[in-house]
Symmetry: C2
Subunit: 194 residues, 2 copies
DNA sequence: AAATTGACTTGACATTTGTCAAGACTGTAC
DNA sequence: GTACAGTCTTGACAAATGTCAAGTCAATTT
């Protein structure tokens, strides 16, 4: 069950983990099962754990005054969950993280993560790479948001992450794109005739 | 002129730079003046240098098929310029970086930056922090883009970066927010009566 | 000083997107 | 098997935003 995590660190870092290092990782993460609709983080709470998704899927979202949900991020196997701001600074989060499917998460606190980074070069390198890639991906999404129409944003998502389209309900995809479910339904309808 | 850069590394890292380290930094960066409207990076070129803004201001933007510009990022004194994707992977960029004012930049190639990171703990720590903060800031902007109206996005920007509002022309602020200059003009007009 | 350019505003109108309400359909719970 | 909740679709209409064109103003150039 930790294998996917070891593989992640090794691939991202380009290094190989020693047996000792693997043991250290296992000691610092704790594995936990989540049922669909269960929360890893709720608005107002501090993000105590970052979670590596060994299996399953989740979403991070906010809820506005009108009760509308806005999905900031999806996560599937091999991705990380957590509100970076709340996690690194231990401040209350504005977001919720909820499982979309039954999931298996590997959890770690900020302090334990810092220990691993200090002790294991592969973890340090992988983390660094992760932050950089996250930033690059975010820039792309910002660029889409300010420069494309709803339909273009949908097409781009379908192309970049086709798995999302099949795996997540349409209303969540709409929320992720920042449009209403009705608009997305109409976009998809139009697409058929093109 | 390098003082602002030294201060940046020290503040971000919480460490103090030794004299040797300062010298090493000076050797690896090169200082260059840019006139207003001059480009640091043009679409299609590879982002050879990252630039630390010692003085001045700039914008990073794309141009779509209709000739419309979309500003992904602003930069002012103490901020960095560069397309992270193009810079770290040395691939052609989709963006342009242009000075909004006469500016003084401290430039460094990717390879030289890696050398500094390896040699100077304060630079390594500051860079790590920078990536994390950039990601957090990006997440906030994504959240605004998908959940707020044009007016709310403007208000948020005015609150978070009041300096931008005074310093940059309205049409650029509009482009940054992903709205037309006319819409921003009307938003500002309405705001007066509230 | 006259001409030119760029930034901003304003009005009229078009287009996109959101909202509300209703209905079809599916899978799940009881 | 029936009821129920969730998801998606569709239509009618409202609201937000974009587009085009014209005009003002200030700064810059000639």
């Amino acid at each position: 069950m930790f294998d996917i995590l070891f593989k992640y660190f090794e691939q991202k870092s380009g290094l190989t983990l020693l047996q000792d290092e693997k043991s250290l990782i296992e000691e610092n993460f704790k594995s936990k099962r989540f049922r669909k609709k269960q929360y890893l983080l709720q608005e107002g709470d501090t993000c105590k754990y970052a979670g590596f998704i060994a299996a399953g899927a989740a979403r991070m979202f906010s809820v506005d005054e009108k009760g509308h949900e806005h999905i900031v991020r999806f996560g599937i196997e091999g991705w990380w969950l957590g509100d970076p701001e709340s996690y690194t600074q231990q401040t209350p989060s504005k977001f919720n993280i909820e499982m979309i499917e039954d999931s298996e998460l590997l959890l770690i606190t900020w302090d334990h993560f810092q220990e691993l980074i200090a002790a294991i070069p592969a973890v340090a390198a992988a983390t660094k790479d992760m932050d950089k890639q996250s930033f690059i991906a975010s820039q792309k999404r910002i660029h889409s948001a300010i420069s494309l129409t709803a339909e273009e944003r949908y097409d781009e998502l379908a192309k970049a992450y086709p798995a999302f389209i099949q795996r997540f309900p349409q209303n969540m995809i709409a929320s992720y794109l920042g449009i209403s479910p009705e608009t997305l339904s109409r976009i998809r309808k139009n697409a058929l005739s093109n």
